[in-house]
């Protein structure tokens, strides 16, 4: 379970993160609203957000709205010193999923996070977007501008591996091991055929999408 912890008090944030990590959670910290928004935009994998309502740069309730517009299905728990009934009601009305007042018990925080985790909708499978390609590992399908491109399983695996590792060169050997689980000359020939078919299906006639360089491949979109 991965958590985005938004808290401007650095000491408290570190302490909370440390305790959550001890419980097995993965935690990313943001000390301002801006940082929280950046992390959420970069990283779709959060299972819950812990939100301090009194951040230096953005009003907590305004930030809540921004967070929800980026990730509507990620539950948000406010962890705040604002302890009036009015604050709680207002926050919950504006879309908070739970509300815990500081000082808080770590065990109650964990119990409440776990409730949010077990009862929230499981997000959609991660679809990798590279350029105008949408690669869905769940259905093992690739879309371009809403149109499906039919690939064989091996073609899909090669494309998927390159997409997952976009931004770096992948060696022939690495591709063979990851896609066929072995590195042999016979398989090497098969890999070359697979890549050439893949390029054809993607309309990649000038090797612009899948780039070759010294026996390495990279996706280039």
């Amino acid at each position: 379970m991965r958590i985005l912890l938004t808290e401007d008090n650095v000491e408290l944030a570190k302490m909370t993160a440390l305790n959550l990590k001890k419980d097995g959670f993965a935690v990313d910290m943001a000390h301002t609203g801006e940082e929280a928004l950046c992390l959420l935009e970069d990283e779709v994998a959060y299972d819950a957000i812990i939100l301090d309502l009194s951040l230096p740069d953005i009003d907590g309730i305004k930030l809540l709205g921004d967070l929800k517009s980026i990730a509507p299905n990620v539950p948000v728990l406010a962890l705040t010193a604002r302890d009036t009934v009015e604050d709680r009601i207002n926050g919950l009305k504006k879309g908070l999923d739970d509300y815990l007042v500081k000082p808080f018990s770590h065990r109650e925080l964990v119990a409440r996070l776990r409730v949010l985790y077990r009862s929230h909708q499981v997000g959609n499978p991660k679809i990798i977007k590279v350029g105008d390609l949408q690669i869905n590992p769940q259905s093992q399908s690739v879309f371009r501008n809403g149109k499906v491109i039919k690939l064989t399983l091996n073609e899909f695996r090669v494309l998927y591996y390159l997409a997952e590792n976009r931004g770096r060169l992948v060696s022939t050997k690495e591709l063979l091991v990851s896609v066929w689980d072995m590195n042999s000359d016979g398989k090497k020939a098969k890999l070359f055929t697979t890549i050439s078919r893949l390029r054809k299906k993607l309309g990649d006639h000038n090797q612009k999408i899948i780039r070759t360089q010294d026996g390495h491949y990279a996706i280039n979109l």
Binding site: M1, R2, K21, K22, D23, G24, F25, A26, V27, D28, E43, A45, D47, N73, V85, R88, I89, L92, K93, L96, D97, D98, S105, R107, E108, V110, A111, R112, R114, V115, Y117, R118, S119, H120, Q121, V122, P125, K126, P137, Q138, Q140, L153, N154, R157, Y160, Y161, E164, S178, V179, D181
Partner: protein
């Protein structure tokens, strides 16, 4: 559509105040003062939410909470005078979806009730226990139990297995599992996920001969279980 609430509470005067307030907010409320009658009502009618007092005369409120959770996938809100952290943690782990301490601001009760009902549209209310393939898995303690024996998972193993179970039948890539389980803590090219899966498999193998964390070659893993 009007939402129906079952309110299990034995203090009559308090119950009357709460019921009339909820009714003013357009909920239809059935009030009962005994745990047994609460269970019976749940059998006979369908409700959108249960509000539960823990100090009932005829049965332990936490046991009742577990019983309701086993039977129904509806939100449970505990409303009680028991204000110790320990009680809250136990209540939430027993399957309650929220825990409010008396005295309660009725407006907060209403808004929390509404939040829970809204969540119902998007998710399912479930307990912290999983039952599959003759194994019971307590996600709070990390204990796996079958007829053969009982095994303790580490905290990380516990969360990863829960992650897989919540997404059963779906291919999960190494990257997805890594993102949710470790985030930025580990090098994306490390083999932490593979190690984790193999250690989970090893532990599960001690409980059952059935293998259900499948490798989907070149893509990731998929958990398939017979349950419920």
């Amino acid at each position: 559509m009007t939402k129906k609430i079952l309110f299990i509470e034995d203090e009559r005067e308090f119950a009357e105040v709460v019921i009339s307030y909820l009714e003013k907010n357009n909920f239809v409320v059935t009030g009962v003062s005994l745990g047994q009658s609460g269970l019976q009502k749940l059998e006979e009618n369908s409700y959108d939410l249960v509000i539960l007092d823990l100090g009932l005369p005829d049965m332990d409120g936490l046991k009742l909470c577990q019983k309701i959770r086993e039977k129904k996938k509806i939100p449970i809100l505990i409303l009680t005078a028991r204000d110790k952290i320990e009680d809250k943690v136990i209540g939430l782990n027993a399957g309650a979806d929220d825990y409010l301490v008396k005295p309660v601001a009725l407006r907060e009760l209403v808004i929390r009730t509404k939040r829970l009902m809204k969540r119902d549209l998007k998710g399912t209310f479930r307990s912290s226990m999983f039952e599959f393939e003759g194994i019971s898995f307590n996600t709070v303690t990390g204990k796996l139990t079958s007829e053969r024996k009982s095994i303790q998972l580490t905290k990380k193993e516990r969360l990863v297995l829960e992650y897989l179970l919540l997404r059963k039948g779906r291919v999960l890539t190494r990257l997805e599992i890594m993102d949710h389980g470790w985030g930025q803590e580990i090098d994306p090219f490390s083999n932490t996920v593979n190690m984790m899966i193999s250690s989970l498999r090893k532990k599960l193998r001690q409980l059952t001969s059935h293998q259900f964390i499948h490798s989907v070659h070149g893509l990731g893993y998929k958990l398939e279980v017979n349950d419920e």
